[in-house]
């Protein structure tokens, strides 16, 4: 079946106004927040409820047409890049907060609801939704689930996976089902945990049950300016060594400070080589005691300027600079790559030195913004796509940074996901056996490889294929611990839907 023959069916399911076929309109969906990967979808549909999503997916499954889910289109690894031969299922019309239960400290929301809207709905009850990606004003909760998104405050409060207790999902065969029972305590296999962070490859989220966290009694933000990143890094290590777990520890280098200042006039110390933000939250007496220790450490590390803020307006003003930093870098260069490497905190200084050397030798500027508390680096590799060859050199620097992260025992992604952008780096971190084992899970959900294909894994492969062209079947299959996924060798199984629960 061709995609054009799907149009009337999709129009019947979602309503004609919610099916996009105009070529110019389709192109506006060609990329997410990472513009270096683009593909114009053959068709875009905007379903309005879970039933419509399931019906759309069933049509795709029956026709053997690939599909990709998209939330607000703010992802930074190309996880929602469409397929030119497929359907893009846009969740932005499903944005109702269905329930806020202050006693159970729980909210049920549709996937298109923005991250910040959850907190806004919870705020009247003294509650908030803890994971806070910098794009929280716009990024969708459904996208957060797909990417297991983090944010500045995940150091203390945890990632999305720690705050999602139930998901209504549409499986790649079009079945509507629930994962998790809303308590957060998995019974049997933790399918909820497996689904969260699966980057849209295991199905599409249609409802999300999230934990709400009691707003802390006291919040204190400290901003410190340093001459060098190394001095700021020392403060970070010493704070953690003192046994303090701040809600957030963030650092920015001179270039990102410059960009943030230009964008939102955040008033960070002028001429500083590094700005460190340390936020403490909790019971007032605890915060007070920790603050005294943190201030001592910060000053001992050689801070040139220290400011503190405890009222929401002042804190918001300071955070604004950090949260706008990525997009603000758009003022420094026409294009940039956002990297998302992770290194052990103790290696921060060495890796930053390596990045700076890479930048110097290549002539490609790199701005650094990072979650210093958990070693999650966000180097922003700046380039001008109008200069021939510069994009390729930036890509090279970007890859070399990830190599450095792996070399120091870290990872290629902390919170942005692998998507299409970092799939080629997966073999640098994982062995073929590792990747094949991941494929087994994926194939259990999506035997026909129609659900966001081409993401996460370096080489697209149908589930029926023998993993690894030069090798025997998966060791787990050989040993009898796992069934060969997908049935017949060499052909992709089609519907009927597989029973997986």
């Amino acid at each position: 079946m061709t995609i054009s023959s799907l149009v009337p069916r999709m129009s019947r399911i979602c309503g004609p106004g919610n099916v996009v076929t105009d070529p110019l309109e389709l192109r506006t969906y060609e990329c997410d927040g990472l513009t270096s990967h683009r593909a114009t979808p053959a068709l875009v549909v905007l379903p309005c409820d879970a039933g419509q999503v399931a019906a759309v997916v069933r049509e795709c499954a029956a026709a053997g047409i690939p599909f990709v889910a998209r939330g607000s289109g703010t992802g930074l690894s190309g996880g929602a890049v469409p397929r030119e031969d497929g359907v893009l299922i846009v969740m932005s019309k499903m944005r109702r907060v269905l329930e806020v239960d202050p006693l159970a400290r729980r909210a049920i929301v549709e996937p298109g609801v923005t991250n910040l809207a959850v907190t806004q709905a919870a705020a009247p009850y003294g509650l908030f939704y803890a994971p806070d990606p910098s794009s929280q004003v716009v990024c969708s909760v459904g996208g957060n689930v797909a990417e297991n998104s983090g944010g500045a405050h995940c150091l203390k409060h945890g990632f999305t996976v720690n705050h999602v207790t139930g998901l209504e999902v549409v499986t790649p065969s079009g079945e509507l089902t629930w994962l998790g029972d809303g308590t957060g305590v998995p019974l049997g296999y933790d399918l909820l945990g497996a689904f969260t962070g699966s980057e849209g490859t295991l199905g599409i989220v249609t409802k999300v049950v999230v934990k709400l966290t009691v707003a802390p009694q006291a919040v204190h933000l400290v901003l410190a300016g340093y001459a060098t990143l190394a001095e700021g890094g020392r403060a970070v290590s010493d704070i953690i060594a003192a046994g303090i777990v701040p809600a957030a520890i963030e650092m920015m280098d001179a270039l990102s400070i410059e960009a943030a200042e230009a964008a939102v006039a955040c008033g960070y110390p002028q001429g500083a080589g590094a700005v460190l933000l340390v936020e403490l939250d909790g019971p007032a007496t605890e915060v007070e005691a920790e603050l005294a220790t943190v201030m001592k450490i910060i000053e001992a590390a050689g801070a040139t300027e220290v400011r503190t803020a405890d009222d929401p307006a002042q804190r918001f003003a300071i955070w604004k600079g950090r949260k706008a930093a990525f997009a603000a870098v758009g003022r420094l260069a026409p294009a940039y790559i956002v990297q998302d490497g992770v290194v052990p905190r103790t290696a921060l200084g060495d890796v930053l030195a390596r990045i700076s050397a890479l930048s110097a030798s290549s002539g490609i500027r790199v701005a650094n913004v990072f979650h210093a508390g958990d070693g999650n680096l966000h180097p922003l590799v700046l380039y001008n796509d109008a200069v021939p060859g510069e994009a390729a050199r930036a890509e090279e620097v970007s890859g070399a940074i990830l190599d450095a992260c792996i070399e120091y025992g870290g990872s290629i992604t902390g919170e942005h996901g692998v998507g299409v952008d970092k799939s080629r780096y997966m073999p640098r971190m994982f062995s073929d056996d590792d990747l094949d084992t991941m494929q087994l899970l994926r194939c259990a959900f999506d035997p026909a490889s129609l659900c966001n294909p081409g993401k996460v894994f370096p080489t697209p492969r149908l589930c029926g294929e023998v993993p690894g062209h030069h090798r025997a079947p998966h060791p787990a299959v050989v040993s009898g611990d796992a069934a060969a996924a997908g049935g017949d060798q060499g052909t992709a199984p089609q519907s009927p839907p597989m029973e997986i629960f």
């Binding site: 996009v20 110019l24 309109e25 506006t28 607000s72 289109g73 019309k93 990024c139 758009g330 003022r331």
Partner: protein, 459 residues
């Protein structure tokens, strides 16, 4: 002189967008529909496609038409994209498809995958893809009336008659206006009840400062403001005089060109701009005080509008530099006139062309907050347009109405007894929606409340 900025310049502006999406939640149409093409990021993408040579399809033109031009996206944008320049260019293309980068649009009934800018697409039948006849007629009517206070005033007499006799309600109930033209229906619904008689309220050419003179200022009276809200202009003059300003109100002043400029009628906007510049140059004033947000924003933009006109560029720059919004001017000048209590709970509504286009949000709140016994409450959606947006509520009545409903909900939930706004369009829009619900919440301009406080009398 070209009427459109160069393609290269626009490409540079569009290139500043890094596709982060921070503008999406700020955009009223994205709030309404959740579709990329009706978000700022999507519209910038569409502009880029056109700049790269894609033909202007009817669908694309619709997305530009649906933009309110509220500029909330510019406030939200961390990358500093000058969206106003892009949307104004796009509006120019929809008004004059022959000026679009790829030439005129394909026919509406052409196959969607027709090759871009093929010779066939530029031939005669292409003209059919222009706006519908009804749309063009509506626009022609609007721009033949609104920028001309005398014509606008002439229309208010039959309107008042209809309101007095109840004919307007009968008409609305009949559903007839909606059938003839959604714009006509919207105009009837939005028209203020029993517009006050304007005779005798004509302002003098000069109002002398009370006490020592601190400044000599010119005052723009506006089109909609002068016809529907003459009392606002009177209050503005009294407040300025009370604060020690000689107020010069040039007789010959006409439309500032805001409505035309914000609707892609660049040539018309330039004509109005030149006339306005000439008028105020002759007035010999330190500053030109504007009490209508849309007008102030347009006049501050003369500099860019006339940048390519060698004989006018310098004069435009000089004039734009002297334009001040009333609240901006008063906050800068500092108060001397004593304030009396105005015991009321009021919500201040940010007009988009003040809050977003001119980035003036603090000054009106400071001025109002300094009035004894006036309790100022914030609207949770203060940054979101009420749907008025110049003549948007006439051209896109459905979307405008939905936004008005949201704004009215927010006003009612705030507990305010009074809504203060610095733009006549917003006041009309919000009042009409509240009136439809039978809610009595007063609306006023910042100037009227300051006037009431300074002169110690209730409105």
């Amino acid at each position: 002189m070209s009427e459109q900025p160069s393609t290269d310049h626009l490409k540079d502006v569009a290139g500043d967008c890094v596709h982060c999406g921070f503008c999406l939640p700020a955009c009223p149409t994205y709030q309404l529909w959740g579709e990329e093409m009706d978000s700022p990021r999507g519209r910038i993408h569409l502009v880029s496609q056109l700049l790269d040579g894609a033909p202007l399809t009817p669908a694309t033109a619709t997305h530009f038409d649906r933009c309110l031009g509220c500029m909330a996206c510019m406030t939200a944008c961390p990358s500093g994209v000058q969206y106003d320049q892009l949307i104004e260019a796009a509006r120019g293309w929809t008004e004059h498809p022959d000026q679009a980068p790829a030439g005129p649009p394909a026919r509406a009934d052409a196959p969607a995958d027709a090759p871009a800018a093929s010779p066939a697409a530029i031939s005669a039948p292409a003209r059919f893809a222009r706006r519908s006849l009804r749309d063009r007629t509506t626009r022609a009517a609007i721009f033949a009336v609104f920028p001309y206070p005398a014509r606008l005033r002439a229309l208010t007499a039959p309107l008042r008659m209809a309101q007095r006799t109840g004919l307007d309600k009968w008409l609305a109930g009949s559903g007839l206006p909606a059938k003839v033209s959604p714009a006509a229906e919207a105009a009837l619904r939005l028209a203020p009840p029993s517009a006050k008689r304007t005779a005798g309220q004509r302002l003098p050419e000069r109002v002398a400062a009370r006490g020592p003179r601190r400044a000599v200022v010119g005052m723009l009276t506006g089109c909609v403001q002068s016809v529907f809200f003459p009392q606002v202009n009177a209050a503005t003059a009294r407040v300025l005089a009370a604060e020690g300003c000689d107020v010069i109100i040039p007789r010959g002043q006409g439309c500032c060109g805001a409505l035309s400029g914000h609707s892609g009628r660049h040539a018309e906007a330039m004509r109005f701009a030149r006339a306005t510049i000439e008028t105020f140059e002759q007035a010999g004033v330190d500053a030109i005080v504007v009490n209508s947000a849309g007008c102030g924003s347009a006049m501050k933009d003369y500099e860019r509008l006339l940048a390519d006109d060698p004989t006018w560029a310098a004069r435009a720059t000089a004039l734009s530099g002297r334009v001040r919004d009333l609240a901006e001017f008063l906050a800068g000048l500092g108060p001397v006139a004593p304030r009396h209590p105005v015991p009321v709970t009021a919500a201040y509504h940010d007009a988009c062309h003040l809050g977003h286009a001119q980035r003036i949000t603090r000054q009106p709140r400071e001025l109002l907050g300094a009035i004894p016994e006036l309790r100022l409450v914030e609207l949770p959606d203060a940054g979101t347009c009420c749907g008025s947006a110049g003549v948007y509520n006439l051209l896109q009545p459905q979307a405008a109405r939905e936004l008005a409903v949201r704004k009215a909900d927010s006003v009612l939930a705030s507990g305010a007894e009074l809504v203060i706004s610095a733009n006549p369009g917003c006041t009309l829009q919000i009042s009409a929606e509240l009136a439809q619900r039978g809610k009595v919440i007063a609306t006023a301009h910042t100037a009227e409340i300051l006037d009431a406080s300074i002169n110690g009398r209730p409105r």
